[in-house]
């Protein structure tokens, strides 16, 4: 009896998690414009999506922004994590604490303060302001991910490399990076997804010349639910599934 209850409960949880996604994917292929009835299978919304210039531009912008954010955050975050893990210096604890403050503070507060800063500096809002803002809120997550991996890292390996004649840079390249790159990959993916679906900070940081996907979708949905958005959602889902499988594949191959 209790076993069935447990299974039923589990099924309910998964249903709630996956039903909306399933509905979205199904309706991406719905020939009917209405979101309430099934009108047969069709690719028309994908066609409409590819012909919708403004939506496609926003999608490309978002991918570019997410990739740049992820890459830069990964580099800065890794160097920060290495510094925090390897060296003892004045103000280290404060620096670590400040990372958590950034992570915990409400996004809206960060958005407003960044906006105030950029206006104060007389900066034009657009790609650069978005990039800086996204790096700022992604950084703590990446630092913590890489730092966690580094904590298990034996510092004597670095010393062994130095002892054998490697410079700081050679040590980083030949010993540290080959050993911690799974964490870097994880950090990159984290930065990418955080940046890709951010709405709050982007709302404040975006300029007239640079539209990003989440904001574009948001404004489209306010007029009415368009099946093109379903098609876009299905594509993004496919993209994230592929990257998830890829990272899983790489990580398991490395372990064996």
């Amino acid at each position: 009896m209790s076993r069935w209850l447990l299974r039923g409960y589990l099924a309910l949880v998964y249903l709630l998690l996956y039903l909306p996604i399933l509905v979205l994917v199904v309706f991406a292929f719905n020939d009917n414009r209405s979101a309430y009835s099934w009108g047969g299978f069709s690719w028309r919304w994908f066609e409409a999506l590819f012909n919708n210039r403004s939506l496609m531009d926003a999608a490309l912008n978002s991918l570019l922004l997410a990739a740049s954010t992820a890459t830069l955050t990964m580099i800065i975050g890794t160097l920060t994590a290495v510094a925090l893990q390897r060296y003892r210096f004045r103000g280290k604890a404060a620096l670590q604490g400040m990372l958590f403050v950034v992570m915990m503070s409400p996004e809206i507060v960060m958005a407003i303060s960044l906006l105030a800063l950029f206006i104060l500096l007389g900066m034009q809002l657009g790609f650069v302001s978005l990039l800086l803002a996204h790096i700022t809120f992604c950084l703590p997550f990446v630092v913590i991910t890489v730092y966690a991996q580094l904590s298990g890292f034996d510092n004597r390996l670095m010393e062994a490399a130095r002892d054998l004649g490697a410079s700081e840079w050679q040590t980083l390249r030949t010993v540290l990076l080959p050993m911690i790159w799974p964490a870097l990959l994880a950090g990159w993916l984290l930065g990418f997804t955080l940046s890709l679906d951010d709405v709050v900070v982007s709302t404040f940081m975006t300029g007239p010349g640079f539209d990003v996907l989440p904001l574009r979708i948001y404004s489209m949905v306010r007029i009415g639910l368009s099946p093109e958005v379903n098609a876009l959602g299905a594509l993004l889902l496919l993209l994230s599934l592929i990257s998830l499988m890829l990272s899983h594949l790489i990580l398991t191959r490395k372990r064996s």
């Binding site: 390996l157 010393e159 490399a161 130095r162 002892d163 054998l164 004649g165 010993v175």
Partner: protein
């Protein structure tokens, strides 16, 4: 004799006035040490005595607060580890887990930008020397502890360092393997003629392998000498207790003879003992150091210190006994089998007398006694 004839060859490594503090606490103070070319020297001491810190200073991972380290006359204190012609065998080996055995051993040469063909021949040579030629393609985690140990040695000596630093390299191995590796290390040292600076807390290992032993305690050198000197003629109670098993009998100087020998009251008996290495004065408290193998057990009617056998244990080549003396301390006696004494074994609880081979005793000032 001229000065040239008496002058020793100048040391390869010369440490002068080395001191290091961590958070205000002195870890090493005023270390003076000369290490000669081709020597096997061991830094011995309990954990926290500063031996590893000293080794790390030589390697370049720690900077001394004071003092100088000269290698062939040139001060190397400011040099980063990658520019020092010394290599280290790390505790737990620190092999690169993402590289094969071959790549691990080749690492030092690769960093030197050595031509690939030369790397290949030299790595193969090294692997042959440590008998790991068939394992070149394996990863470190596929090797046994002893094999990993040999990779670590090969990796460290392939650059032909002037000095090889070894940080407790055998501590992770089991007893039998440790014995084999001790011999192996001695062989490698003989073959390569490299100076070895070896850190250990295992006094037996130190005695059996070294040309000279440096006994460290609380950041200072307690004694520097050959294994024999350190074992038979320790400079302090600390060294006597730390190196080997020690029976320390309490005594008091009663008088000094003309030849330097001393009359000592030992647990109620007056004895004439060998000349101490320190100036003895009547009334001074001393300890008489006797190693277990110096002790002799006799039957109750013989002269000596009376006592009772407390424990008896068979060690294969020796029979060890713990004897509780009527007058005080427990002593450990270790006797070799001797066919001339068939009734050699003593039963537990049996009354015995304890003596030692005359003049094998070693006197030490009693640092524990109130002055």
């Amino acid at each position: 004799m001229t000065d040239a004839a008496t002058a020793k060859p100048s040391p390869q490594l010369s440490l002068r006035g080395l001191a290091k503090r961590f958070d205000g606490k002195a870890v090493l103070s005023d270390i003076q040490l000369d290490i000669h070319d081709g020597e096997f020297i061991t830094l011995l001491g309990p954990s926290g005595c500063g031996k590893t810190t000293l080794l790390r200073m030589l390697a370049g991972f720690e900077t001394p607060d004071e003092g100088s380290i000269r290698l062939d006359g040139a001060d190397i204190v400011g040099l980063p580890p990658n520019h020092r012609p010394l290599n280290t065998v790390f505790q737990n080996y620190a092999l690169f887990p993402h590289m094969t055995v071959f790549q691990n051993v080749a690492y030092g040469l690769r960093m030197e930008r050595c031509p690939a063909a030369e790397i290949r021949t030299r790595v193969e040579q090294m692997l042959a020397m440590v008998q790991l030629s068939e394992f070149a393609a394996r990863k470190p985690h596929q090797l046994s502890g002893g094999q990993q140990q040999r990779v670590a040695i090969a990796r460290a000596v392939i650059k032909r360092p002037r000095v090889l630093l070894l940080d407790e390299p055998l501590s992770a191995l089991d007893f039998k393997l440790r014995k084999t590796m001790q011999l192996e290390l001695k062989r490698i040292q003989r073959e390569l003629g490299i100076t070895f600076v070896f850190v250990t807390h295992d006094q037996e290992e130190a005695l059996s392998m070294s040309d000279r032993v440096v006994v460290l305690n609380q950041g200072q050198i307690e004694q520097l000498g050959t294994p024999r000197e350190v074992y038979e003629r320790p400079a302090s109670l600390f060294v006597a207790r730390f190196v080997g098993e020690a029976n320390l009998l309490p005594g008091e100087i009663a008088g000094v003879a003309d030849d330097g020998r001393v009359q000592v009251d030992v647990m109620g008996q007056r004895m004439l003992l060998r000349r101490p290495f320190f100036p003895a004065t009547p009334g001074q408290k001393v300890k008489i150091l006797l190693r277990p193998e110096d002790m002799r057990l006799g039957t109750a009617d013989e002269s000596g210190f009376p006592g009772r056998v407390l424990e008896r244990s068979y060690k294969g080549s020796t029979l060890d006994a713990v004897v509780r003396l009527d007058a005080g301390p427990d002593i450990l006696a270790s006797e070799f089998f001797d066919e001339d004494y068939p009734d050699f074994d003593h039963r537990r609880g049996e009354p015995v007398t304890v003596t030692w081979v005359p003049s094998w005793e070693w006197l030490l000032p009693d640092a524990d006694a109130p002055v």
